[in-house]
Symmetry: C2
Subunit: 394 residues, 2 copies
């Protein structure tokens, strides 16, 4: 007498979690310094120092009943004003506070948006490689989940594959850039071409096909690359943002949903998102964190540690003969598995205490993901092991 | 092209919110001191002082990457150990950390539990008067929502009305004590009799009928009354707890789900709850707050201010001829509307800048709810207005 789908989701751990927990057990045996765990995307740089000071300031200058009290479901006005100003300063995007809905991180925000878009028969597309939780989120919202084949080897967007999957029932396509797991940033050219295709198909089908932009990594780019702000390219875009990575606050569950004013049915869509959130038990985003964001939304993380890891790992792996897409963002590298079987490669790597996630769950077999939120020293010490593994395959 | 149920939920504000926002507008005209707003259940006493100090201690003694990092989906072990110890010290309940799941407040916890219990055809009962959001939560989870008629005038539980509503499809009954909106605490006698009935019917139907105990007000009782811990009376109870009221942290979204080890299918049910939470976008409960709870779960709020309000309001209203149930808990009074039409009474009260919520949305027409999270001075100044209103009805 319990829901079987929920039970299956709760009892089958993800492959990533399995690897991570294997790593913890193995570390207890061989020592943490001898486990090279590239499995989990848990930020390894601290929040900007100003965040801690801001918490102390708020505790000192604000009435505790107000700090910790309910905000309106859509979020504190001051917080939304601050976010709108920051976005407009950077992107001239015309964001108004009433287009923003404060949420508890990208995951529940995506669920609310998928539920808001879930008309009978609705289909929602993800572009491989994609974050595996999209599937339970979309299906839990009552829509059908469809996967667009990857654009190998650059991991931009394969437009003809998108077009093949667009039907009258398509209500949205998820765009996640910088991408988990590939680390690629979709270029303005890629996004403009995708927008053209979606406009054409929306006109043909007589209803909008929204982009749902999952953007926890928006601020994590390297080497001068910038993440285009998709609503400026395609107004029928709903942004799900999180401060998890941008302010290194992954456990605090704070972010926002942005429904552009010039999106089709903007006002009704915003109401549907709010209603879907309500039905999922959303009351408000954590209130003290909303007040922190009002003062800290403009801060950026110190990305040098990630960038150093990225370059060392990219250079080391390519020197050893591995093939990988250009990792311009997030904190992932997505690498072609020698021998072609990523699960077999992951198992062999595991024997050498090197934990890498096969790409199968990301809709992209034959590749493996590395999350480089680890110490730089470990990166350097792991490179000879990667090289030795490659030698075994030659 | 958006979900109509979600749109309706997002565009129809609740009656409580409407009144509250009318109050804010009206306050701008006549001055806040002249609006007697009993509409919204927003705690008016601050969090215990130790909470602020604990935040500062954590910022000083814990690595920021750990303070703000992801915890496991079920929550920090240390936090669950502290909660289990506190519950066992108070109730000898045999709670183990692995029976606890840290959640983001009672609302999403209830949604996860309802989804976990939502087998095809499932019916979930609420006992009138009940918190209005139960309906969208149950229906959003895919189950049928049924209402048990109230036990007038004591607002305990009318067992024959419960029995009438129990069918082979009943998977759970929601028990909310201390109750919103009535302020009554279900007695051990009431709960024991309910347990007997549910045991009998569970045996008859061949499957458990769970109690879902919604317990944000568990610690808010007055005059020596204590809230019985329902799992000690009926093991097939799933508790959804929140620190919103007990620590006056309503906006921070922190609580827990407790699935007793001796509940039927305990392990599978826990997994189904975890899976349902995952499909709703639960990643973890806010991480810093989990660490605060680990050190503060034993703290109790200073309830004197609420108690003073309760007594003044109860005495004043009954002296003026109003009839109300014994308000032993929470921060509500549920009062019989003079004239019998609570909506009409609420409208008439509104003309005198007295904001009271008609009971219709709580499944209990003919009564109105007062939330006494207001200043004591306002309570005293509102009593002559209540008395004058009653005079008009005589």
């Amino acid at each position: 007498m319990y829901n079987q789908t929920a039970f299956a989701l709760g009892s089958n751990r993800s492959c990533i979690r399995e690897l991570f927990e294997y790593g913890r057990r193995r570390a207890a045996v061989v020592g943490d310094e001898n486990i090279f765990d590239y499995s989990l995307g848990n930020p390894s740089i601290p929040a900007p120092r100003e965040v801690e000071q801001t918490i102390k300031d708020i505790l000192a200058d604000t009435d505790p009943v107000q700090i910790h009290g309910y905000t309106s479901a859509v979020g504190d006005l001051q917080t939304r004003v601050a976010i709108a100003e920051d976005l407009n300063r950077r992107y001239q995007a015309g964001v108004k506070p009433e287009n923003l809905f404060m949420g508890c991180g990208a995951a529940p925000e995506l669920v609310a948006v998928f539920r808001a878009l879930a008309v009978p028969g609705a289909e929602i597309l993800a572009i491989a490689p994609y974050f595996p939780e999209y599937k339970p989120f979309v299906e839990g919202a009552g829509a059908t989940f469809k996967v667009v084949a990857p654009d190998v080897p650059d991991f931009q967007v394969n437009l003809s594959e998108v077009e093949k999957n667009l039907t009258e029932n398509t209500v949205a396509i998820i765009v996640n850039s910088p991408n988990n797991p590939s680390g690629t940033v979709y270029t303005a050219e890629t996004l403009t071409a995708l927008a053209e295709l979606l406009k054409k198909k929306s006109a043909q089908f007589g209803h909008p096909i929204y982009i749902v932009a999952d953007e926890p990594y928006r601020e994590l780019t390297y080497g001068g690359v910038e993440t285009p702000f998709i609503p400026c390219i395609y107004p029928d875009t709903i942004v799900c943002y999180s401060y998890s990575k941008a302010l290194s606050l992954p456990g605090e569950r704070i972010g926002y949903i942005y429904v552009p004013e010039n999106a089709t049915d903007s006002g009704s869509l915003y109401a549907a998102v709010a209603g879907a959130a309500r039905a999922s038990g959303h009351v408000c985003a954590p209130s003290m964190w909303q007040k922190v964001i009002a003062r800290c939304t403009h801060l950026r993380p110190d990305l040098q540690a990630y960038d150093r890891n990225r370059q060392a790992l990219y250079d080391g792996l390519t020197d050893a003969g591995y093939e990988t897409a250009r990792p311009d963002g997030a904190f992932y590298l997505f690498v072609k598995a020698p021998g072609g079987d990523a699960k077999a490669f992951s198992d062999r790597a595991k024997e050498k205490d090197l934990l890498v996630v096969p790409g199968d769950d990301f809709g992209c077999p034959g590749y493996f993901r590395l999350c480089y939120c680890v110490s730089h020293d470990k990166i350097l010490r792991s490179l000879p092991i990667f090289a030795a593994l490659m030698e075994e395959y030659k």
